[in-house]
C-alpha cells in the first residue's frame, strides 16, 4: 500500500510551478486543479440497485458522486477532506458505509477519476494527491485494470506492453494509429491530460421498499410488526432529504390473489416514521385480507419539502400542549378509522334557498391566531332553525292544518322564499314556525305551487 506524505493537496497556485506530467509537453493544461477523486472498487455488489443505494449513502461525503457500473463508485472529495479529518479518515468512513451494506471495498485516491479507479481495481489503495507523482504511481498497474477489449490487451501483450507504465511510454501518434483515438483519449484521461466528465449521481426521489416475509402472515399485529423496518427506512429517507410525505401506499402481496393496496392520505405532510406507523395501524385494522401475505411493499410518491417548525415543550393534549398538532392528529385518527369524508367543517354560501345557503367544507384550520375573515354578519336569529333535515319531509294535512304526531300550531307569520329560477331547483315556499303537541318547534313550509303540500324542513332548538 503506497501512501503519500501530505494528504491535503496543495493550493492550485503552488502546483503550477511543479514538474509537469511525464509525456505532457509544457504549457498543456493539467488536470483540473484542486480535485481529488476517491474510487471504490466493490466486491459483492450485485446489480445497479445495490450500487445506487451505496451511492445515496455516499452522498453524505460529497455532492459529486459518480457510478461506474457494475462495481465502481467515484467521489470527488477535495472539498470534503477538511470536514472529515483527512483522506485516511475519509477512507475509513467510506469503508464503513460500504461494509454496512455488505460490500467489501478497495478505495484509492488520485487526482483523476480513472486513475483512482484503476488503482482500486488493481488492489492498490493509493493516496496520490499530487498530479506530478501520478504517472509514477500508476506505472506498476497491470493492463487489466483499464478493462479494454481482450484483443487490444492481447496485441499489447505481444508487443511486450503489460503494465500501464509501459503503455504510457508508447509514442502517441503510433498508438492512436494502431489502437484508435478512443483508447488514446482514455489514456489522456488517465494521466490527467484531458478532463474526464463524470455524470453526477442524483438520488431517486421516490421511496419504494419491499420486504419478503419469511413466512406467510395473516394477523394484523404480525403484519404491522413486519412493516416496522420499512417505516423506519422511510423515516430515514425523509430525514436525509428534508422532505415529508403526503400520501403513502402499502401493497400486500399474496400467493394467488391480486395484491391488496392500502392508501393512506395525510392531512398535513409528515416525516415521522413512528407516527406514520401508528396511523397506518388504524388503516390496516380496517383491511380485509383475502389470503395470507407473503411480501409487503411500501411506496411514497408525493414528496414535499419539509419546513421544520419549532417544537413546543409539551406534548399535544397535555396542559399547554400544542393544539395545532392535537387537532391534526385527531383528524387523522378519525379519518383512519371512519373514512376520509367523516370529518368536515361548515361554510356559508350565498343564496336564500335553505338547501343551498350552506355547504360542507374542509375541517377547520387548527392554527390559533387566525384572522377573523369568515365572520359573517349575523342575521335575524329567530328566523332560522338550528337543525335542517336532509330533504323536506311531507306532512299529512287534516282540516287544513299540517299534522305531525298531532296537529301543529303555526305561531309565526309567513316568510316567503322564492328563488332559484335559473336552475332546476326552483323554490317557491311560504315558511312558518310551528309547534307540535310535544312542544318541539319545527320549521315547516307550504308550497306555493300546486298541489300546495306541507313539508317540514327543520327543527328549532
Amino acid at each position: 500500500m503506497l501512501s503519500h506524505a501530505n494528504a491535503l493537496a496543495p493550493a492550485p497556485a503552488a502546483r503550477e510551478g511543479t514538474a509537469p506530467l511525464r509525456g505532457v509537453p509544457p504549457g498543456a493544461p493539467a488536470c483540473a486543479p484542486g480535485e481529488l477523486w476517491a474510487a471504490a472498487h466493490l466486491s459483492g455488489c450485485d446489480g445497479l440497485s445495490c450500487l445506487e443505494r451505496l451511492a445515496s449513502h455516499a452522498l453524505r461525503f460529497t455532492p459529486r458522486v459518480g457510478l461506474v457500473p457494475p462495481d465502481g463508485l467515484l467521489l470527488e472529495v477535495q472539498g470534503s477532506l477538511h470536514l472529515f479529518g483527512g483522506a485516511a479518515r475519509l477512507r475509513e468512513q467510506l469503508r464503513g458505509e460500504c461494509q454496512r451494506l455488505g460490500l467489501q471495498p478497495l478505495i484509492a485516491f488520485a487526482p483523476t477519476p480513472l486513475a483512482a479507479l484503476a488503482a482500486a481495481r488493481a488492489g492498490h489503495e493509493l493516496l496520490v494527491s499530487d498530479a506530478a507523482q501520478l504517472t509514477g504511481q500508476l506505472a506498476g498497474l497491470p493492463l487489466a485494470v483499464l478493462r479494454w477489449p481482450e484483443d487490444s490487451v492481447a496485441r499489447l501483450a505481444r508487443m511486450g506492453v503489460r503494465t500501464v507504465g509501459a503503455l504510457l511510454r508508447l509514442p502517441r501518434a503510433g498508438f492512436a494509429r494502431r489502437f484508435g483515438a478512443v483508447q488514446l483519449a482514455v489514456l489522456d484521461q488517465l494521466t490527467g491530460r484531458t478532463r474526464q466528465v463524470v455524470t453526477a449521481f442524483r438520488a431517486r426521489e421516490r421511496f419504494r421498499r419491499r420486504r419478503d416475509l419469511g413466512c406467510e402472515l395473516s394477523h394484523h399485529a404480525a403484519l404491522l410488526h413486519a412493516l416496522a423496518p420499512l417505516f423506519e427506512a422511510l423515516g430515514t429517507f425523509l430525514t436525509t432529504r428534508q422532505c415529508a410525505v403526503l400520501e403513502l401506499e402499502c401493497r400486500l402481496l399474496h400467493r394467488q390473489a391480486a395484491p391488496t393496496r392500502c392508501r393512506m392520505p395525510l392531512a398535513l405532510p409528515c416525516a415521522d416514521g413512528a407516527r406514520l406507523q401508528g396511523l397506518f395501524a388504524e388503516y390496516l385494522s380496517r383491511l380485509q385480507l383475502p389470503e395470507a401475505v407473503r411480501a409487503c411493499e411500501l411506496r411514497a410518491a408525493a414528496l414535499v419539502a419539509q419546513r421544520p417548525d419549532t417544537r413546543s415543550l409539551w406534548q399535544p393534549g397535555e396542559h399547554g400542549g400544542d393544539e395545532q398538532l392535537a387537532g391534526v392528529d385527531l383528524i387523522e385518527r378519525l379519518r383512519a378509522r371512519l373514512g376520509t369524508e367523516a370529518v368536515h367543517g361548515l361554510a356559508l354560501r350565498e343564496g336564500h334557498r335553505p338547501e343551498h345557503c350552506w355547504a360542507l367544507s374542509a375541517p377547520p384550520p387548527a392554527t390559533l391566531g387566525r384572522q377573523r375573515a369568515t365572520d359573517y354578519p349575523p342575521r335575524a336569529a329567530g328566523r332560522r332553525p338550528l337543525w335542517l333535515l336532509p330533504a323536506p319531509q311531507p306532512l299529512r294535512v287534516r282540516d287544513g292544518l299540517p299534522c305531525r304526531r298531532g296537529p301543529l300550531r303555526l305561531v309565526s307569520e309567513l316568510e316567503r322564499i322564492e328563488s332559484g329560477w335559473w336552475d332546476d331547483a326552483d323554490v317557491s315556499r311560504d315558511y312558518y314556525t310551528a309547534i307540535d303537541p310535544y312542544g318541539v318547534r319545527l320549521w315547516v313550509f307550504r308550497e306555493r305551487a300546486a298541489p300546495h303540500g306541507w313539508f317540514v324542513h327543520g327543527v328549532f332548538g
Binding site: 399535544p316 393544539e323 385518527r333 369524508e341 356559508l348 387566525r370 338550528l386
Partner: protein
C-alpha cells in the same frame, strides 16, 4: 403568538396557584343570568362530561348551550367545537346568527359515535364536544368522563329522559322540557343542593 397562547392555557390549570390570585375560573358563562345562578359552578363546567336529558329531540337543548358555545369559539385561545354524529345536520346560517364562529366548528360522521366522541374528548383539540347516545353503558360513560378530564374538554351528551333513573358518572345532569316561551330545567345531579325546577325564557329575538 402560539407560544403565548399555550402559556395562557397552561396557566389556566386549576392546580396552579399564581401567588396573588388563585387560578379560579368558575364555569363557562351560559349566557342566561338565571341559569348561571342555578348551576353549581355559575356556568357550564369547563371540563368533564355533562348530560342533558330531553323527552324529544329539538326541545331547546341546543339553544340552551349555544350562547356558551359561541363564547367559547370567540375566545382568544379557542379550540374546536365538535358535533359528533348529530341526528340532523346543524344549519350553518342559524349557527352564525347565534354568534358561533364557523371556522371553529367541526362535524364528525355517524359511524362509531362513542369511539369518535372519546377520541375527540381525549385529544385536547376541542373546547366542547356534543354527542347523542341512546343507551351508553356505564363503563363507556366512565371512559368518556376520563377522556374529558384528560383533554380538558366539555363533553355534552344528550340522552333520552328515561335515562334519568340510571346511575351516571357525569359531573352535571339536567332534565329539560320545552315550554311555550322557553324551557324548564331540573338539576338531577350536580355539586349543589338545588333540586327545584328553573323556568327559562328565551330572549325576544329568538322566538319569532
Amino acid at each position: 403568538m402560539a407560544g403565548s397562547a399555550q402559556l395562557t392555557r397552561l396557566l389556566e390549570h386549576p392546580a396552579i396557584w399564581r401567588g396573588r390570585t388563585a387560578a379560579q375560573r368558575g364555569g363557562v358563562p351560559s349566557g342566561f343570568a338565571a341559569l348561571d345562578a342555578y348551576l353549581p359552578d355559575h356556568g357550564w363546567p369547563r371540563s368533564g362530561l355533562i348530560e342533558i336529558l330531553t323527552g324529544r329531540f329539538g326541545s331547546g337543548e341546543l339553544a340552551l348551550l349555544l350562547p356558551a358555545l359561541a363564547a367559547l369559539t370567540r375566545a382568544a385561545t379557542a379550540r374546536w367545537c365538535v358535533w359528533v354524529a348529530p341526528p340532523l345536520m346543524p344549519f350553518a346560517p342559524a349557527l352564525v346568527a347565534r354568534g358561533l364562529l364557523l371556522d371553529r366548528v367541526a362535524v364528525i360522521g355517524g359511524a362509531q359515535p362513542l369511539w369518535a366522541f372519546e377520541q375527540t374528548l381525549g385529544s385536547g383539540a376541542a373546547d366542547a364536544a356534543l354527542a347523542w347516545a341512546r343507551r351508553p353503558r356505564l363503563r363507556e360513560l366512565r371512559r368518556l368522563q376520563l377522556a374529558a378530564e384528560r383533554g380538558r374538554t366539555l363533553g355534552v351528551l344528550f340522552r333520552p329522559r328515561r335515562a334519568a333513573t340510571e346511575a351516571s358518572v357525569a359531573v352535571l345532569r339536567l332534565a329539560l322540557e320545552p315550554l311555550a316561551t322557553g324551557v324548564r330545567l331540573r338539576l338531577l345531579k350536580g355539586r349543589s343542593a338545588r333540586r327545584d325546577a328553573l323556568e327559562l325564557s328565551w330572549p325576544a329575538g329568538w322566538v319569532s
